[in-house]
Assembly symmetry: C2
Homo-oligomer: 506 residues x 2
């Protein structure tokens, strides 16, 4: 493909994307395909000779689009939002045009420096403590990681290595293996699966402490666990707190956790993957309490900041602790200015060597949206969730299972779990909206998250109408048919429901 | 920004990228900026109100482009190539348009299934053993990871967990901590820094065994190391072999390594990040020897397959070994079809939970280039490197330090290291071409890698002319001035050279 063909293909693709996003409500949010649909449709080998881009683009429409779960649809309410925006899409394309691999400053000064700039912009926008800024004296700063999983793993691994070094100095009589065998970390039983996975990958057990009745982890629970473990000869390393848990968007109590961590030389990391966006809002300033006492923090721009995945911000109070732990340099990676300036070589702050020019899409998005645009976007999500919350409250057949938090409402149909399970199954079959379920203390509930690139109040009404009408459908026929049905038929029907629920749970 | 503004901005950006790549030879490959240039140029805060995309695009030209190291320039000869291509750039944009996060099948069936398809296409194109195909019976298959670093880390961590389970069963009297303290892994002292880093991250020492005089690691050296370690009570876990080392593109001897690994139940991983592309060529079929005996393998599409970074293919002989090691599921991640089909949930094959739709750019690139286009691209790199090799051989002032391998030529100026160091420094100052240095047994040498999106024979002549003329510049003045200079002056000059070299090395 030459440049002139690229101009044609690229511009046709721009129109394809614009058409897709403008008309995204035309698609059912969930695809109607069975596993293996695409494997069966496509040839078993790549073509020997080049095919035209027109054919490929038409195939994207024909075979790819029907297999897409439309994350940018306003009818997406599953998981948490994954943002994109028009400027971010262009940013991604421009970055692939330059196609640099910015593992050190010399590999593209603009790649490293723009990341320093936008991470400081973002830290100020979120009103983070100044210790996390590159521009202030000291070893703190921010970096763009690929995902929250990666940011959490970096914190866990750096904390682990720091603990091993400290304990080796304190107890020269112990072998490194002995020390590593005693390490232990902490999080809440409400924390994201990536935190447990980080423990598996780091070969360090992470104790998932029981959150309180309100799903919040507090210093008291951590204190008890640490004291038990120290008593048993273990070495506490890190606590990963969450601001905005995956299940219900609960906020751990950072201040009380910080007090315990400080007393025991335990690294405190905060996973604010979703809720971090709210730091920017004056009305959510309580969420920032205690952040001046944490060692590291992550927040996904690709959840709430209109930047497309992957783009996960991470800040470190002392980046040297990561660099010391991860640096394994080679002569071919050295460059003239290395270590002489305040500009970091970010490869030492992360797992992989290679780095994409992700700062470009962030910069383009921030400039074309402006701080006021970003704040308005977060507030819109909150407002829409409030509207949905009011609808739930106004219908006595439903109940909230946790307070609405930012753009998330957790609710269920009153009564047995089966009703909620059956409701979800029905909604999934109809594919008009997409939610996922969660569970707390054996109560099944549904998570309604505001998602999509540009959701409107009418979309929330649409979702609510779908939900409440389907609950009516589920419950009404039973009432009507019960009169006519004999007992055997009814019990068959109920055992069928039970089975469906189990299938869903597995 | 609304859809109509996006259409304008996106199309302007397409033209920007086409103009940039068409005229890339107009730029010096290395930028003329000092550390901090961009941090000083840009505002300290994001703008409060939105700015126009025209202003932003013009700033990219004005402040970003001057800070780019032009990896797509044919005058780039540093590291290894990082590919991009016109179809791949469009693919990246389309993926950001859909902006799905494909961590499970239900999250976008097309995202998972297209990856299954293109990984099988690629495995067949590279003539890999059938055990690595999704379509054959058995637990093997391929996945797209972000980088070679990530692929190597996945192999190292999975091998570690498998070893711990096996040893726990064999020796129930040992604690898990005892077992973990005895684990050890192996690679060559020529392997990439990411392998040593994987050892640090996995908290498992990786012994970097001395490669032979020809820079190749063979079974014999591994056998000796394993026997020593077993004798000392350690537990050998994994050997990471390299096909195409970073320094000289040497090929480890997979067959003899496989025999030792099989005898000792050691996982054999092959890092073919660069050289893997040559598997596709009949004339390089010897590189595939032994691959039917390896447990896992990685190859960077973003090095040689015209797909832009990040895109690192990894194949596993038994994916269950990774899934068993990494799976930490939650109720909100479950879906109806899970575990019922042959379609994998790739989140269990990798470090992070989130996944980009990278298969889209691969599919678009493969279809628009065709297998013949991909093979022609690899052969072009080899031919251009041969042309450069001939030029080096024809000039008696230079010597090769290793046989040319694929698109890489390693050479030096004959004589003391200082001459080569000074030559490189001069080339770096002139910024016409970009190479990096490497070292073997105290001999400094230069790596000339064929890079860029579309290098031509004239670009190789340009580079050679730059290199040989600069060597002339360095050496000639000394000959002329030596006559006139007194001994003191000469020795001052030489000590200056020495200092320069040390600065460069640091």
């Amino acid at each position: 493909m030459d440049a002139s063909e690229f101009r044609e293909f690229g511009k046709a693709a721009v129109d394809f994307v614009a058409d897709y996003l403008e008309n995204i409500r035309d698609h059912e949010v969930l695809p109607s395909v069975e596993p293996g649909y695409l494997v069966e449709l496509l040839p078993k080998q790549m073509p020997e000779t080049p095919q035209s881009w027109r054919e490929v683009l038409s195939d994207i429409d024909r075979v790819i689009k029907p297999g897409i779960t439309h994350w940018q649809s306003p009818h997406m309410h599953a998981y948490y939002p994954t943002s994109t925006s028009y400027p971010s899409i262009v940013g991604e394309m421009l970055a692939s045009g330059f196609s640099v691999v910015g593992f050190s400053w010399i590999c593209s000064p603009a790649c490293t420096e723009l990341e320093v700039v936008v991470m400081d912009w973002l830290a100020k926008f979120l009103k983070l403590p100044t210790q996390f800024l590159h521009e202030t004296e000291g070893p703190g700063g921010g970096i763009i990681q690929g995902s929250a999983s990666e940011a959490v793993l970096v914190a866990v691994l750096a904390a682990r290595e720091q603990a091993v070094r400290r304990e080796s100095q304190l107890h020269p009589e112990l072998s490194e293996g002995d020390i590593r065998g005693k390490l232990v970390a902490y999080s809440s039983d409400q924390s994201n699966s990536c935190i447990e996975k980080a423990g598996v990958l780091a070969a360090m057990p992470i104790r998932l402490l029981p959150a309180g009745e309100d799903l919040v982890l507090r210093g008291e629970a951590l204190k008890e666990a640490i004291e038990q473990d120290v008593e048993a000869g273990l070495i506490p390393v890190i606590c990963i707190a969450t601001l905005g848990t995956t299940g219900t968007c609960a906020y751990d109590d950072i201040e009380s956790l910080a007090s315990i961590c400080e007393a025991h030389h335990v690294w405190l990391h905060v996973d604010a993957a979703y809720a971090g966006a709210a730091f920017a809002l004056e009305e959510c300033s309580q969420l920032r309490r205690g952040l001046d006492r944490v060692d590291s923090l992550n927040f996904n721009l690709h959840k709430f900041m209109l930047v497309n995945f992957d783009c996960s911000a991470m800040w470190l109070r002392d980046s040297n602790k990561v660099v010391d732990s991860f640096n394994v340099d080679r002569i071919y990676l050295k460059h003239k200015y290395e270590g002489q300036t305040q500009i970091p070589d970010f490869r030492h702050w992360q797992i992989p060597l290679g780095r994409r020019f992700r700062a470009l899409k962030v910069w383009i998005t921030f400039r074309t949206m402006g701080a006021e645009g970003l704040r308005a976007h977060v507030r819109k999500h909150i407002d829409l969730a409030k509207q949905f919350e009011d609808m739930v409250k106004s219908d006595t057949r439903f109940e909230l299972v946790a307070p609405r938090a930012l753009g998330l409402v957790c609710f269920r149909a009153k009564g047995d779990n089966e009703i909620t399970a059956q409701l979800l199954q029905r909604l999934m079959e109809r594919k008009k909206i997409y939610m996922v379920k969660a569970e707390h203390r054996n109560r099944l509930f549904l998570r309604f998250a505001i998602c999509g690139m540009d959701p409107k109040p009418a979309d929330i009404k649409y979702a609510w109408s779908e939900i409440e009408s389907q609950l009516t459908e589920i419950t009404t026929p039973q009432l009507i048919t019960r009169k006519a049905a004999d007992v055997t038929e009814l019990s068959q029907h109920l055992s069928g429901l039970q089975l469906t629920n189990e299938t869903l749970e597995r």
